[in-house]
């Protein structure tokens, strides 16, 4: 079945509107399962404390740090991850399966272990870090840079997998056509492949950003926890939970609201346009 005819079939199915019962029931269960914990947070939230929490400068600081580091981690993941996804999907090099397994290791690695692993490489006694320290006097742990590195380590595989999927689903004949018309491979990638997979890249970036925003284990291990430098919202939530569970609920809701608002805004402005593509 060609892409065009597949698309026609999908359009027709959409027009019918009805959802088959075997799909409807599990879908409804899934919605309840995913949304109920959220309802729990909203119900138990001490709404009267909300004002005091929101005006607490430390909360603003943690929120700003979270948004900045997650965005930087996403940009870094885009710059490094999209080319990696291309290599995984398009190159014919041997050992691609092994490579794919290796780059998705952070998905299954407990994030705290990831944080320790980053220490062993980039710490001031790490494989690479000891030279950074000796030669340049540059130590990465306990800095905002460390937060971005930890978040990128954990979140980039989400982007790579999404983009690789998009590349595999994209019609390679457009690239072939560009090549026959004389475009070199880099021009083809820029002018043909990238626009084709833009929705996949956008979806991957959103997934990556969301994962980076919620990152806890690798960050608190590798970057530590210091207000203003490395204390992101998930760390602030965890520590609030130790002393003041009510405040932790409020902080969680703030993080949730901000991330939902950002994603919805992006969807309208960016994904909406990409979705209206070919």
């Amino acid at each position: 079945m060609t892409t065009a005819s597949r698309r026609r079939v999908r359009r027709q199915g959409r027009r019918d509107g009805g959802v088959p019962a075997p799909l409807l029931v599990p879908a409804a269960v899934a919605v309840v399962f995913l949304v109920l914990p959220l309802v729990g947070l909203v119900v138990r939230a001490p709404w009267s404390d909300l004002g005091a929490q929101l005006t607490d400068p430390r909360v603003g600081e943690a929120l700003r740090l979270s948004l900045e580091t997650a965005t930087l981690a996403t940009l870094l993941s885009l710059v490094l991850g999209v080319p990696l996804a291309w290599v995984l999907a398009r190159s014919r090099a041997r050992g691609r399966a092994v490579l794919r397994a290796l780059v998705t290791v952070p998905l299954v690695l407990p994030p705290v272990v990831g944080g320790v692993a980053l220490f062993l490489v980039l710490g001031r006694r790490g494989l690479v870090g000891q030279y950074l320290d000796q030669w340049f006097g540059w130590t990465i742990p306990f800095s905002t840079t460390a937060v971005v590195i930890a978040e990128t380590f954990v979140a980039m595989p989400f982007l790579v997998i999404s983009v690789e999927g998009a590349l595999r689903a994209a019609d390679a004949r457009f690239e072939d056509a560009a090549a026959t018309l004389g475009a070199d491979r880099w021009t083809t990638f820029r002018r043909v492949t990238l626009p084709l997979i833009a929705p996949g890249v956008a979806a991957g970036a959103v997934l990556c950003w969301a994962r980076a925003l919620g990152e806890f284990g690798a960050t608190i291990t590798f970057a530590g926890n210091f207000p203003g430098t490395t204390q992101t919202m998930p760390l602030a939530v965890y520590l609030a939970l130790q002393s003041d569970p009510q405040a932790a609920i409020v902080l969680s809701l703030v993080l949730l609201a901000v991330s939902l608002a950002t994603l919805l805004l992006l969807r309208d402005r960016w994904l909406g346009r990409a979705g209206a593509g070919p």
Binding site: T139, I220, G224, N225, L241, D244
Partner: protein, 270 residues
Amino acid sequence: MLLRTRLALTTAAVLALTSCGGSSTGSTSAGSSSAGSSSASAGGDLSGTLTVFAAASLTEVFGELGDQLEAENPDLTVQFNFAGSSALATQLTEGAPADVFASANEQQMTVVTDAALAEGTPTVFTENVLEIAVPPGNPGDVIGLADFADPDLTLAVCAAAVPCGAAAQAVFADAGITPVPDTEEEDVKAALTKVQLGEVDAALVYATDVQAAGDAVEGIEFPEAEQEVNSYPIAVLAAAPNADAAQAFVDLVRSDTGQQALEAAGFRSP
């Protein structure tokens, strides 16, 4: 006799304690079987599952004592939930089923007693003091608490929200020192890990953590620690599904056997 001698040596004695703690381990386990069989839990008639919620710092000692209770009562299974005291207190107030709660400070025990979840009054069964942990060789040349005000050193303390952080804050306040930490760790083991990895020059942890880390870290005692002695209360919970076993475990912890095991791990008798 040995015990009394040890208690008499208060401040500069933890290192000495460390060395004789090693030699007393043998006598602890040797003495444990006799003390255990004469204790209230003797007879081996306890059965079912005993669930103990205990502060993370008690992991090693309570594990040993749990094994001992199981050995004496073949039908009994002892389950532990080791975590930060405040996390445990939250779990208990949220309805987690447990028989015994041992907290690393009185504040978190109060959370549980205020919710009327404890049976009777909790008793303090052991004490712990802060100590400075440095990587082997002490690369930052740390000598005392005042070094925590040195901006050139990489330093870890616990976050104020967790017990070791609250104690650290109080010690710094007493000593009139304004610390400049690079990280406020989420629990004491995380702070210790950073010392073990050599990523910080010093961390403020408990004497027991230094003891547990063995050769991986060096401990530096400081006199200001005496200002902030941490008391560990233990209580049988009101809704304990296995109240008999719970009481037997609390008795074992408070017995000579339990106290010797705690001392070997760097704790002090109250």
